[in-house]
């Protein structure tokens, strides 16, 4: 795929600008702020569309940043593209409401469909991320050598792990890990509140258990006393009942004797002189006396038994009290046992209801996400790593004029170069070498990822750190590769060397004055 013409109708500072392009090397010269980044963004937006953020973020997105400075109803432009021997025209308008894209094959006069993936086909199925990671080469951002090496290392590590040099999978996992930690802390917090509540229930349970034990002890004691009393009781219950009856009977007999005696005495007194025989008189008197004696006897015996019974009944009172106590304790215990059982049930239910499903669901989700990302990354690393090292070595060997024969990337992505049978850690090499390796790496990635279509290469001040010799070799390599190349530069070194080498190129000047 090659870009033939660039038309900018309105994009940032550009307004009705046309740039013709050559199939080989295009040199776009301009000072800082001349619009090189704008041009790059424009090309990206033309090929892949402009991204709009939604919501509040929209105010700072690409769309808003590159709205034309001088708006005349146009925001967008067109590209003429050559691919497979045919010329296509890609037109885009980015306007919010009237935004549209048209792709026409000018050779056949046929209107193509973006939805059906005709543009993707022109791009060889390369996505924006892959595009930015390969054919668009800027300068490494670090300014120290050590920083440069680390940046390159990261890039390779990221690239191998994700096919995306700016995506650090380790960092993504770190973010997820931090998130999981946060969730776990929240869950622990929640659990500690619940534990507090659980403790309230268990302490109530403990209290009731102790209370129950105390009651049981008391009951035991009362029962023991009761048993003892029953055992030591002098007169068994049945005997007491009988004794009572006896007293009753004694008093009855006493009353009967008394009555008899009074009757006899009266009889004797009344009939004393009418009774013929002295013997009978004496007999009657004797009978009276006997009756009196018997009465006295019964009264005495009865009194004695009452005294005995009085002793017994105080003991019985005590036994009745003990019995009442035992009953009371038992009732109390049943209630306490019931309450304890209720609370035990409540506690069980509380524990079962336990835990917030929501938070454990979230935790699982985070873990699953981590697992998937790790798996994907491992898979990519395996696939990309193998080819990459070989390709990088080939390209690097060529652009250094055979100075280095091999690039070694070990497991932890530290890089070393192979020169004259010696292995040199990259950290010992100059900034220029690191930049060269970066360039080689991106070109290798392009070959790996963009197999269906060779895309133009965009070099944004990529050679600033190269010395003249290296620049020369890089330009020779680019020329030989047959690619369409866009070199954005603010120096005239490239131009001079290209002139020296006799390589043809098309130069476009971009100065602040000539903007529109």
């Amino acid at each position: 795929m090659k870009i033939k013409n660039i038309y900018i109708r309105g994009f940032g500072k550009f307004h009705r600008k046309q740039i013709e392009c050559s199939d080989g090397i295009n040199l776009i010269c301009g000072e800082n702020g001349g619009g090189k980044t704008t041009l790059h963004t424009f090309l990206c937006c033309m090929l892949f569309g402009i991204r709009r953020k939604r919501g509040r973020a929209a105010a700072t997105d690409t769309y808003s940043r590159y709205e034309p400075w001088e708006f005349d109803g146009n925001y967008g432009g067109a590209l003429d593209i050559e691919s497979g021997g045919k010329i296509f025209r890609l037109e885009r308008s980015f306007l919010k409401d009237r935004g549209n894209t048209r792709l026409v094959c000018e050779t056949d006069g046929e209107l193509l469909s973006i939805e059906d993936g005709d543009l993707d086909m022109l791009l060889g199925g390369v996505s924006e991320t892959v595009f930015e990671n390969t054919v668009f080469v800027g300068q490494l951002k670090s300014r120290t050598e050590e920083g440069l090496v680390r940046e390159l290392q990261n890039y390779i590590a990221n690239y191998q792990g994700s096919g995306d040099g700016s995506l650090d999978v380790g960092k993504a996992l770190e973010i997820l890990r931090a998130r999981r930690k946060e969730m776990e802390a929240a869950q622990r917090e929640e659990q500690s509140v619940r534990a507090e509540q659980g403790k309230k229930l268990t302490s109530r349970m403990q209290f009731l258990e102790e209370e129950n034990r105390r009651l049981a002890d008391e009951l035991e004691e009362v029962r023991g006393k009761l048993k003892q009393e029953m055992f030591h009781k002098k007169v068994p219950y049945e005997q007491v009942r009988r004794a009572k009856q006896r007293v009753h009977r004694d008093f009855k007999w006493a009353a009967a004797c008394g009555g008899g005696m009074i009757l006899l005495a009266a009889l004797t007194v009344m009939l004393f002189y009418k009774i013929p025989s002295v013997i009978i008189r004496i007999g009657l008197s004797a009978a009276c006396v006997c009756m009196a004696a018997a009465m006295i006897h019964f009264v005495r015996r009865g009194r004695g038994e009452i005294r005995e019974k009085e002793e017994d009944s105080s003991q019985e009172e005590y036994i009745r009290m003990l019995k009442w106590q035992a009953e009371h304790l038992e009732r109390n215990m049943t209630q306490k046992t019931q309450e304890l059982e209720n609370i035990q049930n409540a506690y069980r239910e509380f524990c079962d209801s336990g835990g917030d499903d929501e938070s454990s669901r979230k935790l699982q989700a985070v873990s699953l996400a981590m697992e998937r990302i790790q798996q994907l990354s491992a898979g990519m690393q395996k696939e990309l790593g193998k080819y990459l090292q070989k390709k990088v070595s080939d390209i690097f060997c060529e652009i250094t004029g055979g100075k280095y024969t091999q690039v070694l990337v070990d497991e932890d992505f530290s890089l070393s170069l192979y020169q004259d049978g010696r292995c040199i850690p990259l950290a010992q090499e100059s900034t220029g070498t690191v930049e060269q390796l970066y360039f080689a790496f991106r070109m290798a990635a392009e070959e790996l990822l963009c197999r269906e279509e060779t895309l133009p290469v965009f070099l944004d001040d990529a050679f600033a750190m190269y010395d003249a010799k290296r620049l020369r070799q890089a330009l020779i390599w680019l020329e030989k590769s047959g690619r369409q190349v866009f070199i954005f530069t603010c120096q005239d070194r490239e131009e001079k060397i290209l002139d020296e080498l006799g390589i043809s190129y098309r130069k476009t000047e971009m100065t602040k004055e000539k903007l529109c």
């Binding site: 892949f48 973020a57 096919g163 995306d164 700016s166 973010i175 619940r194």
Partner: protein
């Protein structure tokens, strides 16, 4: 003959244990029961039916005394109650030892029996649970005895392990009214004939919707019943629609005003739905401070344009990740996908 039918009062329950309002809810359940009795006194209700689970657990003596006192304040109302699966009659249940007021009848039998209330010429049928679970239909064979008067059945159950019910047969049995308990959601199963009064107060967060009791009357023309919302609070699912314009504060404001308009006495189950801006991360615990919020569920999805992202990252890990996992319908998988994508984009610097 006018009656009040209530069930599943669950005295002694401690809803939402561990939340600040738990104690208050426990008291509200008692208070609501007291208010129903006062209501019965005022309306001069003839019959108060309590269709099981008056207590959340085995009743204690002091609790029965309280309840009996309340019954004693409505001496002209006949009270008929049964034991449900929560307060089932175990061997030494306090129910059985308790001496009730004259106006109170407990149908404690294990299978259905009836009691005649001459003052209102009403026969009331029912039985009690003697264990936690009863797997056969307790009311399959019970029929009105055919004598003069109204015939009312008190039932408890309605799921597989608590006397499954056959509503068609129950309707065919010919009771003037079947007063059911156990299912906490009030529902009328046959117009003016069979109804669950539902729990008087909601007992846990799953008891959403209105709660109260059923007021009814029986006369020559038949039975009429109506549901009376009576609970002092309800559990309200609060779905908050979220858009990409929303922030933590704007959503908090919405939740706050929703709670205000629906009543601060209610307990809310907040669920954030819709699409959130990808860079917003809602702090769920902050919503709990806006009122009686028992749970906050974040069901929002980040507002990524998945198609666009996939096109942009095709061929790299993110593209592959979207291709493999982006179209899952499963909720757990989708959540995992969102977390992963968010982290990847953040790591990539796209957020």
């Amino acid at each position: 003959m006018r009656f009040i039918h209530l069930a599943d009062v669950h005295l002694g329950a401690q809803p939402d244990l561990g939340y600040p309002w738990s104690k208050k809810r426990e008291e509200q359940i008692w208070e609501s029961f007291r208010r129903v009795i006062a209501e019965a006194a005022e309306e001069k209700t003839d019959l108060l039916i309590i269709a099981g689970d008056l207590f959340h657990r085995q009743p204690l003596m002091w609790e029965l005394k309280e309840v009996n006192y309340l019954f004693s304040t409505i001496p002209d109302t006949s009270v008929v109650l049964i034991a449900g699966n929560h307060d089932y009659l175990k061997k030494d249940s306090s129910y059985l030892r308790f001496v009730w007021n004259d106006n109170v009848t407990g149908l404690w039998g294990e299978s259905c029996s009836s009691v005649y209330l001459p003052k209102i010429s009403t026969w009331v049928y029912g039985c009690s649970y003697h264990q936690r679970e009863v797997r056969e239909n307790l009311y399959r064979d019970v029929r009105p005895n055919g004598k003069d008067g109204f015939h009312i059945l008190i039932g408890h159950g309605g799921d597989a392990s608590h006397s499954p019910l056959d509503i068609g047969k129950l309707q065919a049995a010919g009771f003037d009214y079947a007063a059911l308990g156990h299912i906490h959601k009030p529902q009328i199963l046959a117009e003016n004939r069979i109804a669950f009064s539902g729990a008087l107060e909601p007992i846990d967060r799953n008891d959403t919707g209105p709660h109260g009791f059923i007021r009814g009357s029986c006369d020559r023309k038949g039975t009429r019943i109506s549901f009376v919302p009576f609970a002092s609070c309800s559990y309200v699912p609060l779905d908050i629609p979220v858009t990409e314009e929303d922030t933590q504060y704007s959503v908090e404001q919405t939740v706050r005003s929703e709670i205000e308009s629906r009543g601060a006495q209610n307990i809310y189950k907040v669920a954030l739905c819709g699409v959130r801006s990808p860079e917003i991360r809602f702090a769920a615990e902050r919503f709990a401070k806006l009122g009686q919020v028992i749970e906050t569920e974040n069901r929002t999805r980040p507002g990524y344009n998945i198609k666009e992202l996939q096109a942009r990252y095709e061929g790299s890990l993110i593209g592959e990740y979207i291709r493999l996992y982006g179209s899952s319908e499963d909720e757990a998988e989708r959540l995992a996908f969102d977390y992963g994508l968010e982290a990847l984009l953040e790591a990539e610097g796209a957020l």
